[in-house]
């Protein structure tokens, strides 16, 4: 077991070095202190509510005759949580058939996998070690949840311990199970059987909700009656965790410890199976490890998000027109990329779906029971969507490539060609959705230009909001502190007054079209200012290589 000792030593050293890093820069702890402060604040507030005794007073005045024999509220809460956990479990099992889980880092691959160490010992250590992050996550979650529910429940140490255990063991067990699923698949090629099993189990669980629901007087009264009943506590993982957590209601330690024992037995069985079937698993985890490392690098900002992440068809053969020279090359490149992403570079599947939804809502508004407000709400959702699309655009694309600096063309031309395709796509989408919608629903024709303008403006605002700090501010505290201040400024002095003006216009005129008009006029000024600043800071763009 030399490997276990060695890995333990390595992790202790990593822990010590991490503590040293924190001590060098204690400000890193500020967000954590904020979370602890928030939890403590919520806890004291809830305890105050409790001491006021509102709930007990209500209980005293409760009309016992009015209470139904079955407490549907409790049943649905338990059932709802159980269903959420089941969905999560099914999703994780299904995911396991596609990708392997990796507990490792690329440094492990380079140093440990080639070292004279037994693969199974390495796997046992890393699998067991996963209890730490899951336990940590469970403690934070339960601390947060308990602070919110402190007024309703009496949280003793035992209560909290069992709640933490129920969540931590559930999350922890998913790792070895996912690893086992992938291992069985690579070893025996049983992917289809596993998929069928997962789908079958999902259907069975759906039936467990549908059958009692349909049998009951009202669907909502019966739907969770089976899965919230005590016998469901024996359903693997989800039920066991519920059994452990139910200590909160029955206070019987023996029952909850029984479910913990089930987890322990299950863990040993799964580990035994993993060790037996995984064999020489190094290649199986290689890709997942590399991909995890890349994700981590992206999260740390070392690498940019690859555009290929969004590509749907990388082998698509394209016959593309030549748009010209200079900065137009960027438009051409975006055009190629978009061609691979969708069936047409200018108008894709998602646009088609969104247009269809818009037209459908317009059609429905012809009926008395369907309000025009649904279309207006939909248009506003689209505006918000394109604002976020603008934010996302500054993270992906040519901007972080050296070509953007090297291509011999003016900055304004490069900038225009960078966003040109998006503007064309937005224009096409807006017109194809809003013109039929206006005609079908009989809306004011000015909605067409106002919606188009507002969408493009909000896209540009989103683009500017993300682009300017990226270029103008250096890494570190500058970006962390000034970016929120800048965004807050845009919101407080730009977007909020604009939306305020829009709202006032709506209250006065009672017409959505004028509210949208006010919005497009206000956003025009914000977008103009941000584009001016963007073009100005763009000249300062430099290529940052790691």
């Amino acid at each position: 077991m030399n490997e276990i000792r060695l890995l333990f030593w390595k992790d202790i050293r990593i822990l010590i070095n991490n503590i040293k890093l924190i001590l060098k820069n204690p400000l890193r702890l500020l967000p954590y202190a904020g979370v602890v402060g928030y939890i403590f604040f919520m806890y004291t507030m809830r305890m105050k509510d409790r001491s006021n005794g509102d709930s007990t007073e209500q209980l005293k005045n409760l009309d016992l005759d009015a209470i139904p024999s079955i407490d549907f509220a409790t049943q649905n809460i338990i059932g709802g949580i159980t269903v959420l956990a089941l969905i999560f479990l099914m999703y994780q099992l299904f995911k396991a058939t596609k990708n392997n889980v990796s507990f490792f880092k690329m440094a492990d691959v380079n140093y440990l996998f080639t070292a004279p160490a037994k693969p199974e010992n390495i796997l046992i250590y890393y699998m067991g070690r996963m209890i730490l992050p899951t336990l940590g996550g469970a403690i934070i979650f339960i601390a947060y949840g308990a602070s919110q529910a402190a007024a309703s429940f009496d949280f003793t140490t035992a209560n909290l311990v069992f709640l933490v255990l129920s969540l931590a063991l559930f999350l922890f067990m998913l790792w070895p199970i996912r690893f086992l699923v992938y291992t069985l698949n690579t070893k025996f090629g049983v992917l289809e059987y596993i998929k069928t099993g997962v789908i079958g189990l999902t259907l069975l669980l759906a039936a467990l909700i549908l059958i009692p629901g349909l049998m009951a007087e009202k669907f909502w009264q019966g739907m969770f009656s089976w899965i919230s009943s005590p016998w469901f506590d024996f359903f693997p993982l989800v039920g066991w965790s519920r059994g452990i957590g139910s200590y909160l209601s029955h206070g019987n330690m023996l029952i909850s410890l029984g479910f913990v024992a089930l987890y322990v037995i299950c863990y040993f069985v799964v580990v035994k199976l993993v060790i037996r079937f995984s064999g020489y698993y190094y290649e199986d985890v290689l890709e997942a490890t590399k991909s995890n490392e890349e994700k981590l690098d992206k999260a740390r900002g070392k690498k940019q998000l690859g555009e290929s992440s969004y590509s749907l068809n990388t082998s698509k053969k394209l016959a593309l027109p030549d748009f010209g020279t200079g900065a137009k090359a960027f438009y051409w490149r975006n055009y190629v990329h978009s061609s691979r992403q969708d069936f047409h570079p200018l108008f894709g599947l998602y646009s088609l779906i969104m247009v269809a939804v818009g037209i459908l809502l317009a059609g429905l508004s012809l009926f008395d029971w369907f309000s025009h407000y649904f279309i207006y709400a939909y248009l506003m959702i689209m505006l918000l969507l394109y604002f976020f699309a603008g934010i996302g655009r500054a993270s992906v694309g040519d901007l972080k490539k050296p070509y953007f600096i090297l291509v011999p063309a003016s900055w304004s031309s490069k900038f225009w060609n960078l966003i040109k395709l998006d503007i064309v796509q937005i224009t096409l989408f807006c017109l194809m959705m809003v013109i039929p919608a206006v005609l079908i629903a009989g809306l004011h024709w000015l909605i067409v230009p106002f919606f188009l303008l507002a969408t493009i403006e909000l896209y540009l605002i989103g683009f500017g909001v993300n682009l300017i700090p990226q270029i103008a501010l250096d890494e570190g505290w500058d970006r962390k502190l000034i970016k929120p201040v800048m965004i807050a400024g845009i919101f407080f002095f730009g977007l909020i007054p604009t939306f305020g003006l829009s709202l006032v216009t709506f209250i006065i005129t009672k017409k959505f079209v004028w509210a949208l008009g006010a919005c497009s006029v206000g956003c025009f000024f914000i977008a103009a200012i941000l584009m001016h600043v963007s073009l100005d800071v763009l000249k300062r763009l430099e290529f940052k290589e790691v």
């Binding site: 030399n2 060695l6 030593w9 390595k10 050293r13 990593i14 070095n17 991490n18 890093l21 880092k105 690329m106 440094a107 691959v109 380079n110 140093y111 440990l112 996998f113 080639t114 070292a115 004279p116 160490a117 037994k118 020489y280 190094y282 290649e283 290689l286 490392e293």
Partner: protein
């Protein structure tokens, strides 16, 4: 020392390594050359056990290449030098010393850190090292256990000129010490002077496996031909 028999590695239906066989005698230095995608790294990764071979047999010192006994005999320097972000340079070496059971690791560590000009970086964390420094750490870690066989996968990438010179010097010293080395590289001149033999891979097949002089004699009849000319001749598309 190393015997590879009928090694096949498939990715899906595509053969990355196509039924190759070769041997490395103890004390031999062999250069593994080939264009991009020829299968050099895949071959090496199959030998060190990072990739699972589709079929074939690989033994190291008489042991199956995946056994702990075989792994005690070799070190591997990967193409991409990943390190532990939160271990210092010194701790990386200590980790390797423990993993391989190296007793006098402190003296050796000092020696290698000095050769690769890392002495002042001994307490630096992995995450704070440049790519070149990581490569140096990787090489130091590989040398520390004093293995019988060394697999270098593109060892010069990212190194500064002095480190390249030192690595070449290390190759010579290892060769003189009787170590067996398999080095995959694009820098042909780096193996020309020290390699006893070169193996040239193309599309997963060995298209040449002999001493440089024999290969020159076999494939290029002109006087003054370099290994680079030979490589280009043997890997050109028909």
């Amino acid at each position: 020392m190393l015997i590879v028999n009928n090694l096949v590695k498939k990715y899906g239906k595509q053969n990355a390594v196509n039924d190759i066989s070769f041997e490395l005698q103890g004390g031999e230095v062999v250069g593994l050359l080939g264009p991009n995608g020829a299968g050099k790294s895949t071959t090496m990764k199959c030998i060190v056990g990072l990739l699972r071979k589709t079929s074939g047999e690989i033994t190291l010192g008489g042991f199956d290449h995946l056994s702990v006994e075989a792994k005690r005999l070799f070190s591997y320097i990967p193409e991409t030098p990943y390190v532990y972000d939160l271990l210092t340079v010194q701790e990386h070496l200590q980790f390797i010393a423990q993993a391989y059971g190296v007793r006098d690791w402190k003296d050796k560590t000092d020696k290698y850190l000095e050769i690769f000009e890392l002495s002042d970086k001994a307490d630096k964390l992995g995450r704070d090292l440049s790519k070149g420094m990581r490569q140096k750490v990787s090489i130091c870690c590989a040398l520390l256990p004093d293995p019988q066989v060394l697999f270098f996968d593109e060892p010069m990438i990212g190194l500064d000129p002095r480190a390249i010179k030192n690595t070449k010097q290390i190759f010579k010293e290892l060769k003189n010490a009787g170590k067996t080395i398999l080095v995959s590289t694009h820098l042909i001149d780096s193996v020309e002077t020290i390699a006893d033999r070169v193996m040239i891979l193309k599309n997963g097949n060995i298209v040449g496996n002999d001493t440089i002089s024999n290969l020159k004699h076999q494939f290029v009849q002109e006087e003054g031909t370099t290994l680079e000319d030979l490589f280009l001749e043997m890997t050109k598309d028909e």
